[in-house]
């Protein structure tokens, strides 16, 4: 029988922090990195193209642009909050998420996918006829062009942040932000197209339906597809904290393409039957959400293991209890069970605060690379203060 010493736990913590890249800062400006210049050029061109489009159409569709930009900014903010909410564990730097978002919004759309889509759809029309292209063109073009355009951004992100992007879950989160950027810019473009459908009159009425539809359907669209696709890219490539699993990677790259193609072909499959179309829409959304939940569970486990490794020495030093360690390194059910074990209600509330304080301690430990800095000692003291029910010092 082997005995794990505190030194072993500290070593395991250092190893986990090195392997995961958790807490490492990200510096975007890297003039000796080719990916930096490539990213800057492609996102810059895409942003200029988009800004030029908005500027050109502003006088004609100003109302619709205002509505679309405002609505989708709120939508993006809500999603940002949600992504933070589900990412309890080895969090990525926020700056990296912004970089991912901008790639999806400007490079993947205007520089890559839009050009390819136009060309492929035109080729389909010429080869198979207009009707066939209208029915099946989008479903047999966008899944390839758009998923590849979005996913290629992850290659640059890995080259820009090789010590931060270490797991399939990192790919999952960054993919979601790439997808969000893509979705927001695409949605604004769709709203602009709708604004012109009544010859520029009644812009709000013409575009509001599109905006609402895109918001609702967006839940199971680009954000979800890219999250799965980019998790697959990490499995395909392999990372220091994520061994290469080619078949799993290929499967995760293929699934969002299949979902995307199915989504874009629903009209053709339903054949004008409105009831069938609604049924198919719901079915595809449910299947997509089920798959993304499975991929989340598949990828997040490694991150939970990192949290456990980082916080195990804290349990050994009696900063947190074994139950608290299980809760913070566990899933939502584990955290809920931990809170519910406390009675009465005020204790349950305190239990939640203790968990949040423990997550803060984990983040400080990661930022300090496991060292016992002032910030770490303070975060550690905070866990004790909240557990003891001592109010915070006056502000």
């Amino acid at each position: 029988m082997t005995t794990t010493t505190l030194a072993d736990l500290d070593r395991a913590r250092d190893f986990a922090l090195d392997l995961s890249g958790w807490g490492r800062r990200f510096s975007f400006y890297q003039p000796r990195n080719c990916a930096f210049w490539g990213y800057l050029a492609l996102v810059g061109i895409g942003a200029l193209v988009f800004a030029a489009t908005l500027a050109q159409e502003y006088d004609a569709y100003g109302q619709a642009i205002g509505l679309a930009v405002t609505s989708f900014t709120i939508y993006a903010a809500l999603f940002w909050w949600f992504a933070q909410h589900i990412d309890h564990y080895a969090k990525l730097p926020a700056k990296l998420m912004v970089v991912a978002f901008l790639w999806g919004g400007f490079a993947a759309t205007g520089v890559m996918a839009a050009n390819a889509n136009d060309a492929i759809l035109a080729l389909y029309s010429k080869t198979f006829g207009q009707v066939w292209a209208l029915n099946w063109g989008a479903g047999l073009a966008a899944p390839f062009t758009e998923e590849i355009a979005k996913g290629s951004g992850l290659l640059l992100l890995i080259a820009l942040a090789p010590r931060q992007v270490r797991t399939a879950f990192d790919g999952f989160i960054l993919g979601a932000f790439i997808g969000l950027g893509f979705q927001i810019i695409e949605d604004i473009s769709y709203a602009l197209t709708s604004a012109g459908t009544q010859f520029g009159a009644n812009q709000i009425g013409a575009s509001i339906g599109t905006i609402l539809l895109r918001m609702v359907s967006g839940v199971a669209a680009h954000i979800l597809y890219s999250a799965i696709f980019c998790a697959g890219v990490v499995y395909l490539l392999g990372r220091p904290a994520e061994p290469r699993k080619v078949w799993r990677g290929l499967l995760l790259v293929a699934i969002p393409m299949l979902l995307h193609g199915t989504w874009d072909s629903l009209d053709a499959v339903a054949g004008g039957n409105a009831l069938m179309l609604i049924g198919l829409l719901i079915a595809v959304i449910v299947i997509a959400l089920f798959i993304v939940a499975r991929v989340y569970r598949l990828t997040v486990q490694r991150e939970r293991d990192f949290v456990r490794d980082v916080m195990a020495p804290e349990q050994a030093r009696n900063v947190i209890t074994a139950a608290e360690l299980d809760a913070i390194a566990g899933n939502r059910k584990a955290r809920k069970a931990y809170r519910k074990a406390s009675r009465p209600r005020v204790e349950r509330k305190r239990a939640r605060y203790v968990l949040n304080a423990a997550y803060s301690l984990a983040a400080e430990l990661a930022a300090a690379r496991g060292a016992d800095t002032d910030r770490v000692r303070f975060a550690r003291a905070e866990v004790g203060r909240i557990r003891a029910g001592v109010p915070p010092p006056p502000r």
């Binding site: 003039p31 990916a35 060309a119 080869t127 290659l155 009159a201």
Partner: protein, 215 residues
């Protein structure tokens, strides 16, 4: 009991490139992924559009063809013109007919667009002019001259106005069938002959909405 170090271990930031990984000063490990992404950009933004540009369209209009648009609006394109967008009547794609159809012959281009509109043909023409001016800002094609009336073969009265642009001339016609507005735009070189003008006028006059009474 052992204690963790009191200061973090030093780690260089991303800007540090190991001496054995430099190629002309840049991090050689970043060249491959960047080239892969640029290759994808090249394929998507250059190769595919070039392939598309080299493939000619051969969907030519045959005598008797009728194109249909969203809102049950149809028109009869001229024989031997090429259909670059739009669908023949009776070939309903899933959902609905598209709201735009375009036929071309050489430099001549004729586009019909439909959409919801509440008002009459003159108001639609005003709206088209307003939107067009806002989009073009004095550049490109713009409406010139006073509107005049035009009557379709179905007996529907619409409004039409000439358009001009750099080396381009043409006409815009507007009709409103109930709450369905129809815009027809024909453009071509300034020296297009009278035969072309007659062909465009025939297409404009062929615009109809089956079941719609004349007004």
């Amino acid at each position: 009991m052992s204690a963790p170090a009191s200061a973090p271990r030093f780690e260089p930031d991303e800007r540090w490139v190991p001496a054995d990984q430099r190629l002309f000063g840049v991090d050689r490990r970043t060249i491959g992924p960047t080239l892969v992404v640029f290759a994808l950009v090249f394929v998507m933004s250059v190769v595919l559009p070039v392939i598309n540009a080299t493939v000619p369209y051969d969907d030519m209009v045959k005598a008797g063809d009728v194109l249909e648009l969203d809102g049950n609006v149809t028109f009869v394109p001229e024989a031997d013109w090429g259909i670059t967008s739009g669908v023949r009547a009776g070939h309903l794609p899933s959902g609905a007919y598209p709201s735009t159809a375009t036929v071309e012959q050489g430099a001549l281009k004729f586009t019909v667009r439909t959409g919801t509109f509440h008002g009459d043909a003159n108001q639609l023409l005003d709206q088209i002019e307003k939107t067009s001016e806002a989009l073009n800002r004095g550049r490109g094609v713009h409406l010139t001259g006073a509107p005049s009336s035009i009557v379709t073969d179905q007996g529907k009265r619409g409004a039409t106005v000439p358009v001009t642009g750099p080396h381009t001339t043409g006409v815009i016609a507007a009709f409103v069938f109930g709450d369905r507005g129809v815009e027809a735009v024909a453009t071509g070189p300034s020296d297009a002959g009278s035969q072309s003008t007659a062909a465009v006028l025939r297409m404009i006059r062929s615009i109809s909405q089956p079941g719609q009474d004349k007004q």
